[in-house]
Symmetry: C2
């Protein structure tokens, strides 16, 4: 499933994670190869799914989306069908930035990004509280973003 990368691929990946719009020629210069092999390597990484795509990064703060809350959810029904229903429902909520199922008790950890506290309360009331099989929840409001999600470490 996971593939091994040589040092060159890793450097190409690092560059593209930092700047998705680097031309192949510039990339080639930086890794010390000519364009042909660099283009081929990129294509291969795209086709293998290692590079999933290229996207613009936007500033949530500049959009007024600075209110981050983590919610711990406990379900009343932990059978496979209930989990599936919950997963599908939570994926349909656009304000859910992340959601992981946590080991040890069939809990979920959900990250919500909202405009402000009022917006968060609306999301909680209209979206999260309607999720299937939720038994109880605890909210953790972020006061400060020390490290914001960007990209996984390439090592």
């Amino acid at each position: 499933m996971s593939q091994d990368l040589d040092a060159i691929d890793r450097r190409i990946l690092n560059e593209l994670v930092a700047d998705a719009r680097l031309p192949v020629a510039e990339l080639a210069r930086r890794v010390g190869l000519s364009k042909t092999p660099v283009a081929a390597r990129i294509k291969q990484m795209e086709e293998s799914g290692l590079i999933k795509g290229y996207r613009a990064m936007i500033s949530p703060m500049k959009l007024g989306l600075s209110h981050v809350t983590y919610i711990e959810l406990r379900l009343s029904d932990t059978r496979e069908s209930a989990l599936k229903a919950f997963n599908a429902a939570v994926r349909a909520i656009p304000e859910v930035e992340e959601c992981y199922m946590i080991a040890g008790g069939f809990d979920y950890l959900v990250k919500i990004r909202a405009r402000d506290m009022a917006d968060y309360r609306r999301i909680m009331a209209e979206e999260l509280s309607t999720l299937p099989h939720v038994h109880s929840s605890s909210s953790y409001v972020a006061m400060e973003a020390v490290v914001e999600a960007s990209a996984p470490p390439l090592e």
Copy 2:
């Protein structure tokens, strides 16, 4: 600080978040304008910092980085200088994908991405346990990624 976007800017942003490499001409076609104003709008959003950049999205799983853990940290010293020292130290750990300071008790929530459990234990021992002023911690291991972080909702 946060700026208002008209409907066109929002659509441009949505398209670029989905695909950072869309040519201006194609974007113009999709939003129903000519290239000139679309290029100008993109430039303005870049300069205002709303668009922070463009990056390749990679599959952590394909890289073998599928082990996600959330760690709740409590500090023994919550004076401003201690918090600053902690923040700086945590930012220097590459495996830290996210870190938020949580309201109500000066706790931190840290998200770690690792190769496997052994890798996580190494990170915990070598990196997290050396963070300044940490008093205690609890780990929450993710069993399943229901929603992976991608981009904040544009609404």
